[in-house]
Amino acid sequence: MGQPSRVIVVNFSPDARGLTAAIVDFFGPAPVELVCVGVVKRAVGEGALAGIDGVDPRYVEGSVSLGVDRFVAVLEAAEIGLPDATAVIVLPHHASAEVDAHSRLTCVALGLACGERPLPNTVVAIEDPEASFEFSGLGVTTIFYPGFLRAALFAHACVDLPVFHFILALLRGRFRLQTLEIPAELRERSFGDACMGLERDPEGGPVTLVGVFAIDPEGGAPTMAINPGPSFALRRAASLLAISERRR
């Protein structure tokens, strides 16, 4: 059995208990360590986390409301292994006067807590979509605006119900997005050729190519290009993006 995934949830509150359930559900039988950092009293937090099957969550009391330095000290004292975490989820602290500013300061504190090491995969949920640019440079991987998710779901439900079901299934983790190495024989070919040639993943299951990770000519990280077109030359791609049914 490998190293268990460690997920840290910051700004946890009892009404976010559903998140812990979602973590357990998503990671399934794989071992997962869950650390929740919240502003509520320890007893309340632990009470909210109690009774979740398949995981032994740990609760740490503290938030950036204490001050960035003090919060960093709390995190370091708790020894939650922040730099080595699989993922960090920063929830909005609704009690704050400026929710997104609180989240930004939290990310600053997280960055300080990591020291010289980069932030792990960090997802921040924000309240105001206009605040997303404020997080640039903090090492945050994903800024998430829940309103967009609701809007996207309802919009697709308005347009096309089968597509809505597809998105719902994608969201619920029924499909797996995976990167595939570009086979040597296809490296000089096009994306259309790859679609015709790559019908199964290495495990033998049916797979559909949905995009590529295009090489950044300036040396940056490859960027995802969904459906780049059949004539897209694969020599410009670092890897392929495929979707397949998640088999559990």
Binding site: T142, L149, R150, L170, T208
Partner: protein
């Protein structure tokens, strides 16, 4: 000579020379009138003969003693002298004589000066005319001045005539007098022209012999001799110049502007403007001279009867008229004629009123009948009636204004204005006026100008109204289009953070043109309302969404989708709950689907809540509805509606999304990419497979879509099996087994830039599908051994 001698000579002369004023009738014989006609073969004599015949035919109450004269001039002079009882006179001559008769004597001048030529037609002096009261009995026929010009010459101005020979008529005839004033109106004198001497017959001969350039003839339109000349191609009818016509009418208003109609003569294809003058029946009385008794009223009555009789029977185009034959008619009507005119006027008024009454009554009863039969709706609600916003109303008003102005202006000026000779001329002029182009140059008289000004103002008003009504229609139609309630999207219990949804629906994608109806709570901030109001084709309703009656107007049974959002608590602590809204949707949709029949449950007094399992959602007209909820077990809560309503636990999905994004770093990019309707992005779409793909393995369909050329990139993802027998959880098949067969109820899911790309690829896939199937079979066969 002494005064006594002079008196004696005068009396003797009168007794010897003057004809007997009224031929004394024998006992039982009708009286005989001395009737001034014209030359023996002239038109006046023919007219006199016809009248005499008419008198005989209409009771023989009066007889005519037709006296041959030299024409109008001779007749008027004889009439003034009392030598004739009745005479035919051209009206211009008669009117000039009348003006001479009413000229007040110049007390300071001696007899000779007062009697000198005053410039009146036929060299009539005031002294000659004074003492005679001229009376008009009736106008009989119409003559038009016709300018015959030898072809190929065409005359636009009289100056062009120069020294060329011109025939104006016989000196002393009315025709000659008319020609004189026309020449005068053109700025010339008769003396300055090279006049052709002789009779009309000789003039025609000269015209045929190329010796004459111009003939001015005042005769009836369609005259045989003119017709012969025109038909032979020797000459053509030329119009009188417009300035000449106007000057003539201004100086001699005894004419009227008219035209020689097209086809009056062979080859005449257009109307020729000219002036017309009538031949009238004139009588004179001498109040101060008992020697010349007036023509009796009975005789005038008989003459009028005869005139009306021969108007019907004769071919001389006799048209008795008491007025309306000249621009101005100064000669008073004979009392008998006046009485007849008044009677006729009252009769016309009575007939007109009766006709109007009949039309009104007919219209009233027709309207009642149409209303009873349902052809006319409530005028305040719909239909053509009573609609101020109906552009047909101002258009009809504009037409009425133009028509009325056309007729009134024509009535006022057609006799005097060369530009308004016909109703057609008047119609186009009034169209010009009514469209805002008022001009004082076209109309001459103040009354006509007033009518023109009124037509201009009213016409502009009607046009503005018409424009406004049309604008209203366009705006209304646009509004209707925006607010249309078919295949529309309804969002109930809207809140601020769902502005993102509206933006997404209005971004490039299949839903961007669908009408959106948003029901907002009262507490929704005005800044959000303002943002919503800016969205195209979006209608805001502020109602309580939990009340079914408030939803009926949204016609939910025709909605493409209904979205019920979770509400935020109001200041009063009130929250609209999605479940109660779902109930209201159910009831409202049922009501509207049944045309307003609620089918109330006897037990509850509310519409029966029938589950989908009883009669099916489609039969109930229930819309596909999505409910946002944060309940822990939404499926159980919304179970009664599960056939048509899909509950989305948005909060739980938010958590799922966060976890997914945290676990798979590129999930967020992919998810955002496939759900955003952007021009440079690919989204997931579904489409029904074409018949040639049905029954073929998925691998064939998939390879076919990859291989279709000439379309945008289509990446097939899988199938959605929309069949009753398939469990809802199993309907979506992404990357299905390659051998699974595509069914008719399936929808193909694909990732492509636009829905049309997928449809185009499917349309063009027939040939490729066959090729791919053969290739698959070959591949299978090769693998089998």
């Amino acid at each position: 000579m002494s005064a006594i001698s002079r008196w004696f000579v005068a009396v003797t002369a009168v007794v010897l020379l003057a004809p007997i004023p009224l031929a004394s009738a024998a006992e039982g014989e009708p009286p005989t009138l001395r009737f001034g006609a014209g030359s023996k073969k002239g038109g006046f004599t023919r007219l006199a003969g016809v009248l005499a015949g008419g008198l005989a035919a209409s009771g023989d109450r009066v007889r005519l003693d037709i006296q041959h004269t030299k024409g109008s001039c001779d007749n008027i002079k004889r009439l003034l002298r009392g030598e004739l009882d009745v005479a035919l006179v051209q009206y211009d001559v008669a009117a000039e004589a009348f003006k001479a008769s009413v000229t007040p004597p110049d007390d300071g001048a001696d007899d000779d000066e007062d009697g000198a030529f005053g410039g009146w037609m036929c060299k009539i002096t005031a002294d000659m005319a004074r003492g005679a009261d001229l009376h008009l009995i009736t106008a009989l026929t119409d003559g038009a001045v016709q300018m015959l010009v030898r072809r190929p010459v065409r005359i636009d101005e009289f100056d062009q005539i120069g020294d060329a020979p011109i025939y104006l008529g016989k000196d002393g005839s009315g025709s000659f007098e008319t020609a004189k004033v026309i020449v005068g109106a053109a700025g010339h004198t008769v003396e300055g022209l090279n006049l052709f001497e002789g009779g009309s017959g000789e003039a025609y001969a000269a015209l045929r012999g190329q010796e004459l350039l111009v003939m001015l003839r005042t005769t009836e339109r369609g005259d045989d001799e003119i017709a012969d000349v025109v038909a032979s191609g020797l000459a053509s009818i030329n119009p009188l110049p417009e300035d000449v016509l106007n000057r003539l009418i201004d100086g001699y208003p005894y004419y009227r502007i008219c035209q020689v109609e097209p086809a009056t003569y062979p080859g005449l294809e257009y109307g020729v403007p000219t002036v017309c003058v009538s031949t009238v029946l004139l009588t004179a009385t001498f109040p101060d001279d008992p020697e010349h008794p007036a023509v009796s009223d009975a005789s005038v009555d008989a003459l009028l009867d005869a005139a009306y009789l021969v108007a019907k029977t004769s071919d001389l185009k006799i048209k008795p008229r008491a007025s309306g034959f000249a621009e101005k008619e100064p000669i008073p009507l004979h009392p008998v004629a006046f009485e007849r005119k008044r009677t006729a006027l009252w009769r016309s008024i009575g007939e007109g009123a009766a006709l109007l009454l009949a039309l009104l009554l007919g219209g009233f009863f027709l309207r009642r009948v149409l209303r009873r039969r349902g052809y006319l709706r409530d005028p305040l609600s719909a239909g053509l009636e009573g609609h101020l916003s109906n552009p047909l109303v101002p258009f009809a008003g504009f037409a009425v204004i133009v028509m009325a102005a056309t007729f009134i202006v024509w009535l006022i000026e057609h006799d005097s204005n060369a530009r308004l000779r016909t109703l057609d001329d008047s119609f186009w002029e009034m169209n010009t006026f009514a469209t805002g182009n008022f001009s004082t140059e076209t109309l001459k008289t103040p009354s006509a100008r007033f009518v023109g000004a009124v037509a201009t103002i009213m016409g502009l008003g009607a046009l503005a109204w018409f424009t406004a009504a049309l604008t209203n229609i366009f705006a209304r139609d646009q509004t209707r289009l925006f607010q249309r309630r078919r295949d529309h999207l309804v969002i109930l219990n809207f809140r601020e953070d769902m502005l993102q949804l509206v933006r997404l629906l209005r971004s490039p994608g299949p839903a961007r043109h669908q009408a959106i109806h948003v029901m907002v709570p009262e507490e929704l901030p005005s800044r959000v309302r303002i943002q919503l109001a800016k969205v195209k084709a979006l209608t805001i309703h502020q109602e309580n969404p939990e009340v079914p009656d408030n939803l009926i107007g949204l016609r939910l049974h025709r909605a493409a989708r209904v979205i019920i959002l979770e509400g935020e608590a109001t200041s009063a602590g009130e929250v609209f709950h999605p479940l109660r809204i779902a109930r209201a949707v159910h009831q409202a949709a049922q009501t509207t689907a049944r045309g307003g029949d609620r089918q109330l449950s006897a037990a509850t007094g509310r519409p029966a809540l029938a589950g989908h399992h009883l009669s099916g959602p489609a039969q109930l007209g229930l819309p596909k509805t999505l409910v946002e909820t944060s309940e822990d077990d939404p499926d159980a809560l919304f179970a009664p509606f599960r056939g048509w309503l899909h509950a989305i636990n948005a909060r739980q999905l938010t958590f799922v999304w966060l976890v997914h994004a945290a676990a798979e770093p590129f999930f967020a990019d992919f998810f955002t990419g496939v759900v955003s309707f952007r021009d440079d992005n690919a989204e997931v779409y579904s489409a029904a497979p074409p018949p040639w793909l049905i029954g073929r393995p998925w691998i064939v369909a998939r390879r076919t879509l990859y291989s279709v050329e000439g379309t945008g990139a289509v990446l097939p993802l899988g199938l959605y099996r929309d069949a009753e027998e398939v469990e809802p959880g199993d309907r979506l098949m992404v990357n299905p087994d390659f051998e699974i067969l595509v069914q008719a109820s399936d929808l193909i899911l694909a990732l492509c830039e636009d829905a049309s790309d997928l449809l185009r690829a499917l349309r063009r896939s027939r040939k490729v599908a066959a090729e791919q199937e053969q290739r698959c079979r070959r591949g299978s066969a090769e693998r089998s051994p």
